[in-house]
């Protein structure tokens, strides 16, 4: 049981959940009805008008009403908004036990000790029906949620089901109320509106409670015989199905759960019991120490229950509703119902992965609590409370599209919690010994480690680390080093641990607290919530976004928090991505909520002192509000706040706070109030801005302060002006002050005289030696001339000369507001970019330097190479044994060592290269294996190759490319590893494949293309080099399929034609002085099998050469062939001209050894035509033809094979051998 809320009060006899709001009504034995907010845990209201206990209470499903019934025989209908009892329904003659609104009609059903059940119309405020038949107290009565039925329970030991169909018809039909009123009396005893449908007998004592199933034809009842009975009904009858025994005292109340297949009952035996409704077995019992239970209530929508007892009530859930989930990159794994599901954030695709429970298995408190996922192994750990804490390990099959419903046999184990700590390792907590077992995916224990603190839960804390939780503390423990990496005191029971994606920060969530700490558990901030914290996730900026029961909130790294938005129902955040919050709701559905992140992004920018960012947000003025201003002020950014505010008074205050005098003056002018001027003056004085001080004083006509200001600034002109003003205003005191400040004795005397203080005037005048005035005054005073003190030397009181006259104080340092700073840095954006650009340049320079260094190195290397080449002859490494020696030669000597008396060194195994060499009949593989002689023999046999020198580098490359080098143990020799060809995930180990070869067919294709390109652009030497290298590589190429073999063979002939052609063309260019031979070679070239564009070029050149040599007939032949090949326009034009020229004079100036009418091949070394029918010999490899005299020589085309030698043919694929 998860208690959500508890109250202490008088005995609770009635309870009702509000269908929408988090409210519950509790009616008490004392007569008070309480309205609680169980989410906030506050008493909202109390209604105290009943006399004596109130036993029944019920909320209306849509109106702001509730009904109550008490021992004062009264049914009261209340409006909770206006806090008023709207009216009272009178009629019952004894205590009222229960009251209930109808879900649809304006009816109330009530059950009373007067043995009747009454149905009331609360709109007409009349009783519409009285259901009689019970012959003892009716303890409870309620409407069926859908049908026209009422169920009641009575101490007469029966449960009755009443049919109220007739009553409904009457209501629906427009029959008037008056008719019904008259009818009512006749109905009172044996009316027809409601008739008893079934009487359910079976209880041996009085029945206290009966309730319908929300959607099945079932009734459950509880009685003083301590039994709970389950009844079924159909159209015609009802019968007892089963009895649930277990309560030790009277059963008070019993109900079906709204969402699950369970029955909940409570009793005077101080227990609440949960029963499986299908199997009719007890599932759970919750006991209280001293309180008898009296009433139960089920929330109509949510998974909530409430129970009233002797000293209050509790609101509770039977099990947690938080779906277990685990996040992995873009995907979320979570458990819903009996399936593991998968959700992809980017596509918002949701799919079922595997079933994790068989259908029909009991689910109460068996559902997964936590989930841990290993992406590499695709394994999921599911922890639940089954058997007091256990885990299941599932490996998700690769091809699981998830349609299969076969529950795989998971690997199981018991343990407090289990969590992956590495790709293929998970830790299981053994609570009793405070140890963790590290297990592999076969569920075998790999390692045991005792934990540094008594731990009751473990969480992931980075690879190989665990976060261990005890009641008031968490530590991060490195399992390998067995070291505590960090430790933190926490409020009781951290429930969830949320790591930021970079694993640098962690949020520890407990019931009412969030702690943000670094990865070493250094406390960053603590946040207290009055409402339960539910979930959280880190956003990309390092802000922690979390939910409470009813809010989405944020927490900045410094601990500042705020509300983002409110929630109707609790959600569990799984991921935050930009403005989108992904969450799971209580039904296990994935949702994406878009939030307004402006506020916290702004605060974050302020916090991180990213003023440019702040600035741009201010400019776009996306946020405002008193809260933000207060925040800015509080955080010491009044000057920033200043820019949000329109209200002059607030502007003024902020300006003063930030010392921004000019804004303050502007605001003060606008406001124009004495107080503001005064405060402006104070601030201006503080800053020494005397101009503003003067202005402020002038505005408020504060002459005293003004004169003092003028005095200290030495502004005597203004001071005397002020004196005049005072005179005009008849302000004697002010006038006198000013005169005193000015040191103007005459004026002072005059003032005193005018004010009638003649004695004072006299003294002043005489002291300061104004004798004539003194005499005049003395005469006026007559006898009253005061005596002057004697023996004192008077001096004139003159104000000191000010150190500095007027002007504002020079301020030592103009405080640069961060705001201006922000502006500047925003401007600086551009320059920063420029700097970046320079950086790039710098880097480029570096690269240049590198390049030079490399070149240097190259030089050195080249030199070294040269040196080595010189040394080559006396080289001769002894390292060949490794490859060549048969294993027998290396038989170990018998070990004679004492230590190893039983140990016999195993014989060496066969190196893989040797296996290759034994297995293969392909020359390339032999070469890769290092068996060069075998390779050569093969090539000789297959292709008649005798000249291997051109193949040397290929042999060496193949050999070099056949092994990789693994540095294993430090300072020990490196391990060469044979690289095999054709690896796939499913290759079995220890079965050796053929060697990986450095040449493949696709490379040759590339080479062919660049050969063509070189030919087109006329780089014949280059082209020849490329084609030759193809020809030289082909004997060492291996392909997989027969089709490819044909392609390889085709390639040989293609390339051979080009090699021959290019060789002739190059030869032709050498023979400048032999035009005849030149023409012949050009002509032969056109008979090589070339690509059309190349053929055109060859024809063009042959045509040109012959035309120049006046062999017009031959030239026109080339021209015609050229025209046939569909050339480009300028080539065609030239060809046509040649044809035209030739037509006029179809002769040849010289006789060439060239007859285009007669088919021929060209000898590859003498370059003469071998016409059809003449004898020839050919190269066994490249198939070039030769005149018979060449037999036995090395082929001049491929430079490899012996002309006319016997050969079995190209073998370049294992497919040919099979």
């Amino acid at each position: 049981m998860l208690t959500k809320f508890e109250t202490k009060s008088n005995r609770v006899k009635g309870l009702s959940f509000h269908p929408k709001r988090p409210w519950i009504l509790a009616s008490l034995h004392s007569g008070v009805i309480q309205l609680w907010d169980y989410r906030m845990g506050t008493l909202i209201d109390r209604f105290d008008e009943h006399e004596g206990p109130v036993r029944g209470v019920h909320f209306h499903s849509s109106q702001p009403l509730f009904v109550s019934g008490g021992d004062d025989y009264k049914i009261k209908v209340w409006n909770y908004k206006t806090h008023r009892c709207l009216f009272t329904l009178l009629g019952h003659l004894d205590y009222i036990r229960t009251v209930q609104f109808h879900h649809e009609y304006p009816w109330i059903v009530s059950a009373s000790d007067d043995q009747t059940i009454r149905i009331w119309n609360w709109q007409s405020r009349t009783c519409v029906s009285v259901l009689t038949g019970h012959n003892h107290y009716v303890m409870c009565a309620s409407f069926h949620p859908k049908e026209d039925l009422v169920v009641s329970a009575s101490l007469d030991q029966t449960v009755r089901v009443w049919d109220i169909g007739a009553l409904r018809k009457k209501t629906v039909s427009p029959a008037d109320d008056i008719m019904r009123l008259t009818q009512m009396n006749s109905d009172l005893f044996g009316g027809v509106d409601a008739i008893v449908k079934y009487v359910l007998e079976g209880h041996d004592r009085g029945v206290n409670w009966a309730a319908f199933h929300p959607n099945l034809p079932l009734i459950v009842s509880g009685a003083d015989d301590r039994q709970v009975k389950l009844w079924r009904m159909n159209e015609t009858k009802a019968w007892e199905v089963d009895t649930l025994r277990g309560h030790m005292n009277n059963v008070s109340s019993v109900m079906f759960h709204a969402k699950q297949d369970i029955i909940v009952s409570n009793s005077e035996d101080k227990s609440i019991r949960v029963w499986d409704a299908t199997k009719r077995t007890g599932l759970q019992t919750f006991r209280r120490e001293h309180d008898r239970f009296w009433i139960l209530a089920v929330h109509p929508e949510m998974n909530l229950l409430a129970a009233g007892h002797d000293s209050g009530m509790i609101v509770f859930k039977l099990e947690r509703e938080r779906p277990a989930f685990a996040l992995s990159g873009d995907s979320l794994f979570y458990a819903k119902d009996r399936f593991l599901r998968y959700y992809e954030y980017s596509t918002q695709r949701d799919s079922q992965v595997i079933p994790i429970r068989r259908p029909g298995t009991p689910s109460l408190n068996q559902s997964p609590r936590t989930l841990s996922y290993s992406p590499t192994e695709n394994a999921v750990l599911i922890c639940s409370d089954v058997d007091g804490g256990s885990y299941e390990l599932y490996i998700i099959p690769k091809d699981s599209v998830g349609r299969s419903d076969v529950v795989q046999d998971a690997k199981r184990g018991t343990g407090g919690s289990a969590v992956f700590i590495a790709r293929n390792r998970f830790a299981v907590l053994e609570k009793s010994t405070s140890q963790v077992l590290v297990k592999n995916l076969k569920n075998e224990v790999v390692k045991k480690s005792s934990l540094p603190i008594p731990t009751d839960a473990i969480f992931y804390a980075g690879t190989g680390n665990l976060l261990c939780r005890s009641e008031d503390k968490v530590v991060i423990f490195d399992l390998q080093q067995r070291l505590v990496l960090g430790e933190l005191q926490t409020p009781p029971f951290v429930r969830y641990v949320v790591w930021s994606s970079d694993m640098e920060s962690v949020a520890l969530l407990s019931k009412h607290t969030i702690i943000i700490a670094s990865k070493k558990l250094v406390l960053q901030c603590t946040l207290h919530e009055t409402i339960r914290v539910k979930s959280g996730a880190w956003d990309d900026n390092g802000v922690f976004i979390y939910t409470t029961l009813n809010h989405i909130k944020y927490c900045l790294p410094n601990g500042d928090s705020g509300i983002i938005q409110t929630l109707d129902v609790p959600i569990y955040i799984t991921k935050v991505s930009g403005n989108t919050i992904f969450c799971l709701d209580r039904d296990g559905k994935n949702k994406a909520i878009t939030i307004n992140a402006t506020e916290y992004i702004f605060k974050l920018a302020l916090l991180r002192k990213r003023y440019d960012h702040v600035m741009s947000m201010i400019k776009n003025s996306q946020l405002c509000g008193q809260a933000m201003i207060a925040y800015l002020q509080q955080k010491g950014f009044p000057e920033v706040a200043l820019h949000f505010v329109e209200d002059e008074r607030i502007r003024f205050n902020l300006a003063l706070e930030s010392g921004n005098i000019s804004v303050a003056v502007a605001s003060a002018t606008q406001i124009n109030e004495k107080d503001h001027w005064y405060r402006l003056g104070v601030e201006a004085l503080r800053q020494g801005n005397s101009g503003i001080v003067e202005f402020a004083y002038q505005q408020t006509k504060n002459f005293e302060r003004l004169s003092f200001l003028y005095l200290i600034t030495g502004n005597l002109d203004k001071l005397s002006k002020l004196m005049k003003i005072a005179e005009v205003k008849n302000n004697v005191m002010g006038q006198f002050h000013n005169a005193l400040y000015l040191g103007d004795v005459k004026e002072r005397v005059k003032i005193l005289e005018n004010a009638g203080h003649l004695p004072l005037a006299y003294i002043t005048a005489s002291v300061h030696g104004l004798n004539d005035i003194a005499e005049r005054l003395a005469t006026e005073l007559g006898d009253n001339v005061p005596s002057l003190p004697e023996g004192k030397t008077p001096s004139l009181l003159m104000p000191p000369t000010p150190v500095m006259c007027g002007g504002d104080w020079p301020l030592l340092r103009v405080m640069k507001g961060i705001f201006e700073g922000g502006l500047e840095s925003a401007d600086r954006g551009g320059t920063v970019d420029e700097e970046d650009g320079e950086g790039d340049w710098g880097e480029e320079l570096d690269i240049n330097v590198d390049g030079m260094e490399n070149r240097d190195i190259e030089d050195i290397l080249a030199a070294a190479e040269a040196g080595e080449e010189e040394n080559d002859e006396d080289g001769g490494w002894g390292g060949l044994e490794d490859l060549e020696l048969p294993p027998e030669l290396d038989t170990p000597k018998a070990s004679a060592n004492a230590r190893s008396s039983v140990f016999v060194t195993p014989t060496q195994g066969m190196p893989i290269s040797q296996i290759w060499s034994q297995k293969s009949s392909l020359a390339a593989e032999q070469a890769a294996a290092g068996s060069f002689d075998t390779a050569m023999r093969l090539l000789h046999r297959q292709l008649g190759i005798k000249n291997f020198t051109p193949l040397k580098s290929m042999f060496l490359d193949l050999f070099n490319g056949s092994h990789s080098y693994l540095r294993a143990f430090s300072s020990s020799p490196v391990v060469p590893l044979a690289i095999e060809r054709g690896w796939s995930e499913s290759s079995s180990p220890n079965v050796r494949g053929p060697p990986a070869l450095v040449y493949d067919f696709s490379q040759l294709d590339e080479k062919l293309k660049s050969g063509y390109k070189a030919t087109t652009s006329g780089k014949f030497t280059e082209a020849l080099r490329l084609f030759l290298s193809i020809l030289h590589t082909i004997p060492l190429v291996v392909v997989e399929t027969r089709r490819e073999v044909d392609e390889v063979k085709e390639l040989v002939t293609i390339v051979k034609e080009y090699v021959l052609g290019l060789q002739m063309e190059l030869k032709r260019r050498e023979m400048k002085d032999d035009p005849l031979r030149q023409q012949e070679l050009a002509a032969y070239f056109t008979h090589c099998n070339l690509q059309t564009p190349h053929l055109r070029l060859a024809l063009l050149s042959a045509m040109g050469v012959c035309y120049k040599a006046k062999n017009l007939a031959t030239a026109s032949n080339f021209a015609r062939r050229l025209l046939e090949s569909n050339p480009v326009e300028n080539q065609a034009k030239m060809a046509r001209q040649v044809v035209q020229a030739a037509e006029r004079n179809m002769t040849d100036a010289t006789k060439l050894n060239y007859d285009f009418r007669n088919p021929f091949v060209i000898c590859g070394s003498t370059y003469v035509p071998i016409y059809r029918g003449q004898k020839d010999v050919s190269c066994p490899y490249c198939t070039a033809r030769f005149v018979p005299s060449q037999e036995g020589n090395i082929c001049t085309v491929c430079d490899l094979a012996v002309i006319g030698a016997d050969a079995s043919g190209l073998l370049c694929s294992p497919a040919q051998v099979r």
């Binding site: 790709r423 050569m936 050999f959 143990f969 079995s988 180990p989």
Partner: protein, 292 residues
């Protein structure tokens, strides 16, 4: 299975060393509160790290006569590697040590003996001293010796012993990666995952990068291997394995390998690749002779 208590102070140092972060091992060797035993082990690791970095003379001069036996053994290794021309005398003094019953059983001496005899390609002699194991280092060395002898069956047995001692030990993981690479097939992927795990858990070293690259090569993915190796080259431009593997990789992707090869020849003329290449050339000439 191992159930241990108490913090392992040398864990990080050892890890750095095994994973080829030698400088990091040296830099982080000042650890407070070490027991006498730990101090000797620490010093051995530090000096072995110096050896791995090629600072043989430093090791030879720093370890004096008074130093503990294991350190003396480490010094022998430094001497052996620093002057191949004097290796006979080094080996004979090694043999003297081994014959001495008081110190001959010391794990470090046996480890060094195994290493030196492995260099001598005298696997029989090497195993004579190492086969009985005793430390993770010795077992790991055995795995390597057996791999060198192409006896993966024996290597696997050694590995199983290591797994029983501590399956998650860095050396166990490394050794199983070596073996996985040696037996090939689907095991290559497991080897890759092991190196991948290391790269996620610890700072990248050229040893880890090379390990990953070798796996990639064996899986036929030479492009990725090349990328990894270039990253390794950035870390250490003279690392012989990086250069050697780059030679192989370049050959497979059809690029020129001569620069890497020349660099390797210059900086590490004794490297296997260089030796193999030279012997292969010889071999070629010899084979050519038979056709002349």
């Amino acid at each position: 299975m191992a159930s241990m208590a108490g913090p392992d102070h040398l864990f990080n140092l050892r890890n750095h060393f095994y994973l080829g972060a030698y400088q990091a091992a040296i830099n982080n060797s000042e650890i407070p509160n070490l027991s006498q035993e730990d101090i000797v082990e620490r010093d051995c690791l530090v000096h072995r790290a110096y050896i791995a970095l090629g600072s043989y003379q430093l090791v030879i001069s720093e370890i004096d006569e008074a130093a503990a036996t294991p350190l003396q053994a480490v010094k022998l290794l430094a001497m052996y590697l620093s002057s191949p021309e004097n290796k006979e005398s080094t080996i004979s003094s090694l043999k003297e040590w081994l014959a001495d019953p008081t110190v001959g059983n010391n794990a470090t001496i046996r480890l060094i003996a195994g290493t030196i005899f492995m260099h001598e390609e005298d696997y029989n002699e090497a195993l004579k001293h190492t086969h009985s194991g005793g430390t993770m280092d010795l077992h790991a060395l055995n795995v390597q010796i057996f791999i060198k002898m192409h006896r993966s069956d024996y290597a696997e047995k050694q590995l199983r012993v290591m797994q029983q001692i501590d399956e998650d030990h860095t050396l166990t993981q490394l050794a199983s990666a070596w073996l996985n690479l040696a037996v090939g097939g689907s095991k290559i992927q497991e080897a890759y995952l092991i190196f991948q795990d290391f790269s996620e858990k610890y700072p990248m070293t050229s040893l880890i990068l090379n390990g990953k690259a070798v796996c990639c090569m064996h899986m036929g993915n030479f492009e990725e291997a090349e990328t990894l190796l270039l990253e390794a080259l950035n870390k250490d431009a003279k690392d012989p394995e990086t250069l050697a593997n780059l030679v192989v990789c370049s050959l497979h992707v059809g690029k020129s390998s001569s620069r890497y090869l020349n660099q390797l020849k210059l900086s590490h003329p004794e490297h296997v690749l260089v030796k193999r290449g030279a012997s292969a050339e010889d071999n070629f000439e010899r084979a050519l002779q038979s056709f002349a």
